[in-house]
């Protein structure tokens, strides 16, 4: 297309492939909409720097500084890092010595459990999706539908047999138990999503490779997989986000050592009996958001590149 560098490319913004450019009006509009959409999250982040009295102030205090007198004093709060330190250690009763809350452990648990189960689901699910897409079994659609059915029941119904099962085999409160459970929890979406990506690929390229003597393994790894990297990234991000925030299974199936952040967060909300500690909860959520935010950010290029590898579309 256009060979001359555009204004944005001169400024150093990389141009995405296969995407047309927006004008000034559309750019401003998009920026405005995005900021409005982000506002509730921004308010959580702001709250994490406030003390309890300032979090409940009327009128609301939005700004950390007066911006050289531009903002009236009534809307300004004094930013503090106290909430962030008290995520990890705080005094549980007034006057008592600060105690460790164990949140460092909970953060590790969340990362380890979510990361390994999503990767496991991605490996198993991609293989299955490829199988469903390329080597249809007898009753292929029925299998796919049964797989989908496993996500339809409310979790509360499945959880009682799972609790009993885990107790019998000693998996209750252990890492392998919850990791396998989350793998199964992620599989339906992974399979359906990856199958839709594999279905989009043209079989002509694969057949040509087979005629040239490529083995089935080579066709899968060298031809099909590189074309669905965008799909893999998107599925990974979705799986990670869902698993990262899963609450019910984690509440009932993790022990003291394997507790994840959402469960601990819920306890921190309820704890103390003095109402919600807004600043503390906001600080936990802000810290908890960072890892998954970074992963999404770094996979974003793959996420949006799409399947534009110059292959023939069906």
């Amino acid at each position: 297309m256009a060979t001359s560098t555009t204004f944005w490319e001169k400024l150093g913004f990389r141009k995405a492939s296969g995407v047309s450019e927006a004008g000034w009006g559309q750019t401003l509009f998009a920026g405005l909409i995005s900021l409005i959409y982000f506002m509730p999250v921004l308010l959580i982040i702001i709250t994490s720097f406030k003390l309890q009295t300032e979090a409940l102030a009327v009128p609301p205090k939005f700004f950390p500084t007066t911006f050289f007198g531009l903002v009236p004093e009534a809307y300004v709060f004094t930013p503090t890092l106290e909430n962030f330190t008290s995520v990890f250690s705080r005094a549980f009763t007034t006057g008592a010595a600060a105690q460790s809350t164990g949140f460092d452990r909970f953060f590790f648990n969340s990362m380890f459990i979510a990361g390994s189960s999503v990767l496991l689901a991605l490996v198993i699910g991609t293989l299955a999706a490829y199988g469903f897409s390329r080597y249809p079994l007898k009753g292929n659609d029925t299998y796919l539908f049964i797989i989908l059915t496993t996500r339809m029941l409310p979790a509360i119904v499945v959880i009682i047999p799972i609790i009993l099962m885990f107790r019998i085999v000693g998996l209750s409160g252990s890492y392998p138990g919850i990791i396998f459970l989350y793998t199964a929890f992620n599989l339906p979406f992974t399979i359906w999503m990856m199958k839709s990506f594999f279905d989009e690929l043209s079989p002509d390229v694969e057949d040509a490779a087979r005629i040239d003597g490529s083995s089935e393994l080579r066709v899968f790894f060298k031809i099909c997989l590189p074309q669905v990297i965008a799909g893999l990234a998107a599925t990974f991000v979705f799986g990670l986000i869902l698993t990262w925030n899963e609450f019910l299974f984690a509440l009932l199936l993790t022990g003291v050592d394997t507790r994840t952040v959402p469960v601990a967060m819920n306890q921190a909300v309820a704890g103390g009996g003095i109402g919600v500690l807004w600043g503390l909860l906001a600080a936990i959520e802000t810290l908890f958001l960072i890892p998954v935010f970074l992963v999404t950010f770094f996979l974003q290029n793959h996420l949006l590149r799409g399947v534009t590898f110059g292959t023939v579309k069906r």
Partner: protein
């Protein structure tokens, strides 16, 4: 095609070969029975697990050598799903035919009595019926809001503009929040005295604004929080479809002077249809199960109970495990019928075009 391996013979029963699955099953059964009778329950679990792995490995080698790739690729997923999902599902299906309470030891077979009671007495009671209509209402409202907002956001981000990467990730963040935090913080924003929304309304008309004072307000509050949280999901799927449309198709269309409306339906839409359907399907299933935001925001007050919250109350708070299971199987039946209908229509449509 180079099919190097000819049709291989099944190895003899006593021949120790990696693809001799019959021998593997025999050895596995023998060792498992021995372990079951000699060792403790948790130790024998791992022995049985190892034996199952051995049998599975023999099947894998057997299938690979004979080019049964379909079954080979699908079986790990089926195995995990069977152990962790389908088996517990069947177990709870079994429980729904018993009178069982998780806080008591007694268990008694009652056949279809749980279902019969649900379909006759409880359905006549207005409570269950309103829970059902509430669920339908929430599903329609949240899913349509998510589809519309997500689709519009995707169209907005399908163009290149400065800071696009950064703005996109800002829009994606709601999805990454924990539902506990979303629920608690939306109740903070909706709070009648110090909540932001109430303060904004108060500065406008001077009256105290209580969002959850009416059913409309409560439903709107829940739908807003849910749609805000999950529209990015739809957006991401649609966007993945939008950027995968080859550019030369648009160029060809602009040479042929095709109008933008027709260009959308003939070029863009076929590329996003599959992903749009997938988003609709998964969001509908999730919306049908909606309970957490309702619990966090209204606790079912103001006539906002959903069927899933009702199941949680029965099964968890009142410990009526069997009744909860029976109710959710009725619910599953409804969802399966609806999903099948949807998939049937979707498949027929895609065959037509």
């Amino acid at each position: 095609m180079t099919m190097t391996a000819t049709q291989q013979q099944t190895p003899g029963f006593l021949n120790v070969a990696p693809d001799n699955w019959k021998l593997a099953i025999a050895v596995g059964l023998a060792v498992s029975t021995a372990a079951g009778s000699l060792l403790s329950a948790s130790a024998s679990f791992w022995v049985v697990g190892a034996m199952v792995a051995m049998v599975a490995a023999s099947f894998v080698v057997y299938a690979y050598r004979r080019h049964y790739y379909g079954g080979l690729l699908v079986s790990p997923a089926i195995a995990v799903l069977f152990v962790m999902n389908i088996f517990p599902l069947l177990w709870s299906l079994g429980l729904s035919f018993y009178a069982y309470q998780s806080n008591q030891q007694s268990i008694r077979f009652v056949g279809l009595a749980n279902y019969a009671r649900l379909l006759t007495d409880d359905l006549k009671a207005p409570e269950l019926w309103t829970n059902l209509t509430n669920t339908a209402m929430f599903t329609v409202l949240t899913v349509s809001a998510q589809m519309i907002v997500g689709f519009l956001l995707a169209i907005m981000f399908a163009k290149q503009f400065p800071l696009r990467r950064y703005l996109l990730i800002l829009v994606l963040t709601p999805m990454m929040l924990s539902v506990v935090a979303v629920g608690v913080f939306f109740s903070y924003y909706y709070d009648p005295t110090f909540g932001l929304i109430s303060q904004m309304v108060k500065s406008w008309n001077g009256e105290q604004f209580i969002l959850f004072s009416s059913k409309t307000g409560a439903v709107a509050g829940i739908v807003l929080a849910d749609a805000w949280m999950w529209s990015p999901f739809v957006m991401l799927l649609v966007l993945a479809g939008l950027v995968s449309v080859p550019k030369y198709l648009y160029e060809a269309a602009s040479i042929d002077r095709v109008g933008s409306w027709r260009r959308f339906w003939t070029i863009t839409f076929p590329y996003i249809r599959g992903l749009l359907m997938l988003a609709l399907l998964f969001r509908t299933i999730e919306a049908f199960k909606m309970a957490d935001l309702v619990i966090l925001l209204t606790k079912g007050g103001n006539d906002t109970m959903t069927i899933s919250y009702h199941v949680i109350r029965i099964a968890n708070e009142q410990n009526k495990t069997s009744e909860g299971a029976a109710l959710s199987y009725l619910m599953l039946f409804v969802v399966i019928v609806l999903t099948n209908l949807y998939l049937y229509i979707a498949n027929r449509r895609s065959r037509e075009t």
